[in-house]
């Protein structure tokens, strides 16, 4: 009797349990209540945990994902701005989540298609166009007009990244372009004037020769200048030579004469002191995980301006100057890049409005000045930069701000999104002297043309 009972009852209980557990699973994904909301916010350990009365029910809660997890150097500033915003008004409550940069991309990549992404994201300027074009972002133009927000206060190039077909799909927050940093002590040791950094590419090369130190066995100990060490690539030098990757009609121009001239120079500068030696040298310089300039491997290097904070902390006697230009026909300004705050379209007008409130606060002059002075990381708001007292008194900031005004904008090419991925290995092949610059660029041109052909065939 008992046996039979067990036989009948156990399967029933098991299946009931399963159904319940499934139901419980789906329940958990339902919108969270106020209690969990206030738990995950803020994150700056110093202050007491925010209580529920700070997030009353009539407030609209929006989520904000960014790239500053616990322990990140830029986290305190971001936290403070979010906290200030939450306290400054009582209509919108921002719940933020910091995710480490690499996880952030994969999390975004899966969350956006699944529709579980945040209301506001701290995303790359360079690929804003991709998301805007795909229709996942809110066009902020109506809000900008309604509020009378002046987009003219942003740097032109930063604005260009987020403007598509007259719509605005993001607010530039932190960005930058490239500068040349040099080691003043090494300049002195080589008999160069530390107050006179190179102005032309020809000078750069002459200086590099003087600054380079070769060891007894022919190995390179210090390299005066390596065009790809630091935070620079071929593209930074290409624009200075008046070259471009695409023409006005978005046709690739990978192997144009300007591009060839740049790559010739790039390869020559790389391998000046022996291709094998430089290969070994750059592997060594890269393997320490420390920036080659900070580690004393190079005397001059091209880097981004948010490198400034590390320079200040390094104790190295450094100088900052604009990138040297070709003596003839040089075009000033390097490519700008960075981040913007994007509002994701979840079909909820009230949330979009609330998100606009937040992003316009974060990119306002006041918030941006706090950002740049604390983080030493340039912001998109040009007015904020130029009216900031602290920056006015710092000659290094003056150099960087002058360069930022010349920053270039790199157009997004939907048909050849991965053009850089196709070009980069060819540049490497040229640097390794496996291909001549001409062969490498011809191969890149072909590869990009193939991407476009592929895109056209699929769309």
């Amino acid at each position: 009797m008992l046996k039979r009972f067990c036989k009948r009852i156990i399967p029933f209980v098991l299946s009931a349990l399963m159904i319940f557990s499934l139901a419980a699973c789906s329940k958990e994904t339902a919108p969270t209540d106020d209690k969990t909301k206030s738990e995950s916010t803020g994150g700056d350990g110093g202050t007491a945990p925010t209580t529920e009365d700070k997030a009353p029910k009539e407030k609209i809660t929006i989520t904000y994902w960014h790239i500053f997890p616990e322990g990140d150097a830029f986290k305190p500033v971001n936290d403070k701005l979010v906290k200030d915003f939450n306290e400054s008004q009582d209509e919108v409550y921002v719940e933020d989540l910091g995710i480490s940069f690499f996880d952030y991309l994969s999390k975004m990549d899966t969350a956006i298609p699944a529709g579980t992404g945040p209301d506001v994201g701290f995303n790359g300027l360079e690929d804003n166009a991709f998301r805007a074009e795909s229709g996942v972002l809110v066009n902020l133009q109506p809000y900008i007009e309604a509020d009378g927000f002046d987009m003219g206060q942003f740097y032109q190039a930063a604005r260009d990244y987020v403007t598509h077909d007259g719509g605005v799909y993001g607010m530039p927050i932190a960005w930058g372009n490239r500068i040349l940093v040099y080691n003043k002590q090494m300049f002195r040791d080589a008999g160069l004037d530390p107050e006179k950094p190179p102005k032309t590419l020809e000078e750069l090369e002459a200086y590099a020769d003087k600054l380079t130190k070769i060891g007894a066995n022919g190995e390179i100990e210090v390299m005066g200048f390596h065009p790809a060490l630091g935070n620079a690539t071929y593209k930074d030098y290409l624009y200075q030579n008046g070259g471009s990757f695409f023409d006005e009609n978005d046709n690739p121009t990978m192997n144009s004469p300007e591009n060839l001239k740049t790559l010739d120079w790039y390869v020559r500068m790389t391998n000046k002191y022996g291709a094998k030696q430089v290969q070994a040298f750059s592997t060594t310089a890269g393997s320490t995980g420390i920036d080659p300039f900070l580690a004393g491997y190079v005397a001059m290097e091209v880097n981004v301006n948010d490198f400034y904070k590390k320079l200040l902390d390094s104790g190295i006697e450094f100088g900052i100057c604009a990138l040297p230009l070709p003596a003839e026909g040089g075009v000033r300004g390097t490519v700008g890049g960075g981040f913007n705050l994007e509002v994701f379209d979840h079909g909820d007008e009230a949330k979009a409005q609330a998100a606009w409130k937040f992003v316009s606060y974060m990119t306002s002059v006041e918030a941006q000045q706090y950002w740049v002075t604390q983080n030493k990381w340039p912001v998109g708001n040009q007015v904020a930069m130029e009216t900031c007292e602290e920056l006015k008194t710092d000659p290094n900031w003056q150099v960087m701000m002058e360069e930022l005004a010349f920053a270039k904008f790199e157009k997004f090419i939907p048909k050849a999104r991965a053009w850089w991925g196709a070009l980069y290995p060819e540049l490497e092949a040229a640097q390794q002297e496996l291909k001549t610059p001409q062969e490498a660029l011809d191969a890149a041109q072909k590869a990009v043309e193939l991407q476009i052909e592929d895109y056209d065939a699929q769309n």
């Binding site: 399967p11 098991l14 990549d109 298609p113 229709g135 991965a418 290995p425 092949a429 193939l450 065939a457």
Partner: protein
């Protein structure tokens, strides 16, 4: 009436059927997981492979376009396949040889053998990322351990990972570091070889080499077969070394198939094409596995087999 129906119901479901249902119920947690997290993704990847899909817009049906593009236009497809085959064809046999050799050495009756076995197995426990970072240091051209040792005997070592001619061999050498896993399996197999076979062979005057080739090797051939199959499958999926250490470079020399797939999926957001690549990889490994299975009749010896 009620009792009657019950009776009929009871007799309707036979004991075997009931036990079957119960069995499936107990297996259901795994089955659910399998359907939701394995079978469903596998089937949807087959569907995506026939579409153009960038994750943000809805997938667009393109038929066999991705497959046609792969075989007729994509220059990196063949390159990646060749790099991967090069890696697998060299690293798998070398790995087997090395692990059999180490297993033989560790099968001796010497004091402290347990310690040695642990030491040789240890690298397998280390995560592949940590291993990769460690080997980047070992293979550093200037101050790396490898080149320092080579320079002591008067050889100026190559640039290893930074040299396109040496990057693939470097990764193969590195793969030998984790032969401990295979070694453990061979060790178990070696201990299963009956001592009596060696005894009678030595009575018959067979030397060590003969014993190895005529007794040991045939007796552990099923284990070799197993390691060969798993090794080839694993070898064709090589990814983390290229991802962490070389980024597929220099100049595409370590651009492996799985890395190509990753690039297409997560760099270019071309999920449709990446799915197609995954299916072709499955076909390639399937063909190779079948080939190895067929050939196994010729060289794998099963005890008690009638042939």
């Amino acid at each position: 009436m009620l009792i009657d129906r019950r009776k009929r119901k009871n007799s309707g479901l036979r004991m075997q059927t009931k036990e079957g249902i119960l069995g499936y119920l107990f297996a259901s947690p795994w089955l659910l997981g399998f359907f939701a997290f394995t079978l469903f993704p596998v089937c949807s990847s087959l569907y995506y492979s026939l579409t153009s899909y960038n994750t943000l817009k809805a997938p667009k049906w393109v038929g066999f376009y991705n497959y046609i593009f792969m075989f007729t236009k994509d220059p990196l497809f063949l390159k990646a396949l060749w790099n991967t085959a090069y890696y697998a064809i060299l690293s798998v046999p070398l790995g087997i040889a090395a692990s059999v050799l180490i297993a033989m050495l560790l099968n001796q009756k010497v004091k402290g053998m347990r310690l040695f076995r642990t030491i040789f197995y240890l690298p397998t426990v280390v995560s592949s990322v940590a291993t990769a970072l460690l080997w980047m240091w070992i293979m550093d051209p200037n101050f790396g351990l490898l080149n320092t040792l080579l320079s002591k005997i008067g050889i100026s070592g190559p640039g290893w990972l930074s040299d396109p001619a040496w990057s693939k061999p470097s990764l193969i050498i590195m793969s030998l570091w984790t032969v401990g896993g295979g070694m453990l399996i061979y060790l178990a197999a070696l201990q299963d070889v009956p001592e009596s076979l060696y005894e009678s062979a030595s009575l018959d005057g067979a030397n060590g080499w003969k014993q190895f080739f005529k007794i040991t090797l045939p007796m552990i051939s099923p284990t070799i077969f197993f390691n060969l199959i798993t090794g080839v499958i694993g070898g064709f999926q090589v990814f983390s070394q290229a991802f962490i250490m070389t980024n597929g470079g220099p100049a595409y020399s370590t651009y492996f198939y799985a890395y190509h797939l990753y690039n297409k999926a997560f760099k270019e957001y071309n999920m449709g094409y990446a799915s197609a690549l995954a299916w072709i990889l499955l076909v390639v490994t399937l063909i190779l596995s079948l080939f190895i299975f067929k050939s196994s009749k010729k060289w794998v010896y099963y005890e008690g087999d009638q042939r």
